[in-house]
Amino acid sequence: MSNRADLIILSASRTALSAEFSDSTARECSNPCVRLSLLDVDSHDVVARAVTRGLGSLIVGPDPIPVEVWSVLPGVRDLSLLLAAGDAVSAGSTVVIDAGTTSDAVRLVSLPSVVLRVLDALLTPDVAMIRTGRGENGFEALSDLRAALARVARLLQSPSTVARIATDVDDSMVAEVMSVSAAFAAHGVGLDAVMVLRRTGERDIADAMVARVQESGVRVWATGRRRRPCPNGTQVNEVLSRTRALTGSELDVIHDGDHYVLVIPLAADRVGIDGEELVIDVAGTLRWVPLPAALRRCTAVSGRRWRGTVEITFAPDAQRWRPAS
């Protein structure tokens, strides 16, 4: 089993902290390393490449749209960064992403599943007839974009992708770490570790908070003035301890009398049904996972939060359920 991280997603409670953390991580990587920053001006080139690879096919008119305009469209920068990360990992590099704040990082990892759904709805025979202003077939370009994004989505969920958080000691620290951890897990990304930065005199408070975070199974290393990007005795691109992440195929269904209970191992904010898929809302981001086959012929009756999970009770739908002969 490989212990090496191919993709390390770093975020922090402050953008400056995230930049510092990702710089030191990239510097200490022993193998070829690519550092990508969500906030960096260098991402102009990254966006330009993404536009030529398929995003530009969304525009069917003849007039080109400058990269600077693409860059300010919400989500385009994130998408471009993920595509670049996927390419670099495929080429054998370790990629360190400076994702900025933790909320930026959550948005980043949640993007592929949403865009894939949009592309799936967009790639129809009607669209196949459309040619872009430059005479290209937009359908093929969008199909290529979809394939690249699907690879990125698989990469995010692979055991060699880890997310790390750096945080200051403050009142919201534990709640933020737990929320971000759940959001990463919902999108199949394991949280590797949390680096807690404490100032002089904060040792007691920090220790109490670290203990609370550790109770949830997240590895924590606390540092003082001397900051290292990983605990002593470990390699910076070593997978330290990946928390459980939702893959979609591990949802437990318990048969309880006339009902079925689906257990989602996350403290989700909301859970819904979208056709034959389950929609899990964590920290404002949505993840779609296929419903287990038996539950596609059932109706959701109720749900409850219990010990960090959500349990949904389903009752068989008489109209869709074949009676036992």
Binding site: A121, D171, S172, M173, V174, A175, M178, S179, A182, M209, R212, A267, A268, R270, V271, G272, I273, D274, G275, V279, A300, S302, G303, R304, R305, W306, R307, G308, V310, I312, Q319
Partner: protein, 130 residues
């Protein structure tokens, strides 16, 4: 009954009337240009006339029947629609046309009500009182 020909029957009309200013309000078909569309002087309908009539009927059917029906998801809700009525007679339609909201562009997620179990020892995730 009036001896006037129906509005969709163009045979026998003089070429002058075709060029009148009131043509714009006429529902006649415009797809019958070409040699076959010319009527013989005898007044008998030619092939062009039949083509013109057919295309006019198709346009009428499209405007009055097909276009409104395109928005009908559940035939049982539209007894006045010819196609819905025919669908029901032929048994094509089923009562399971319910997920109207999941049609393209109008997808809807059905959210499940979730309650916090009072006996749960786990503190709420975002209590802010960490």
């Amino acid at each position: 009954m009036s001896s006037q020909p129906p509005w969709w029957y163009s045979a026998g009309q003089s070429p002058e009337s075709d060029g009148s200013g009131s043509e714009g309000s006429s529902p006649r078909a415009t797809g019958s240009d070409g040699p076959a569309a010319e009527s013989p002087a005898s007044g008998a309908p030619s092939l062009g006339d039949f083509v013109s009539m057919a295309s006019t009927l198709v346009e009428w059917a499209t405007d009055r029947v097909m276009a409104p029906h395109a928005e009908h998801a559940n035939p049982t809700e539209h007894p006045q629609c010819l196609i819905c009525r025919a669908s029901r007679m032929l048994g094509v339609a089923t009562e399971s046309a319910a997920p109207v909201a999941t049609e393209r562009g109008a997808g809807a997620i059905t959210w499940i009500p979730i309650t916090d179990d009072p006996s749960d020892p786990t503190p709420p995730l975002l209590d802010g009182a960490a």
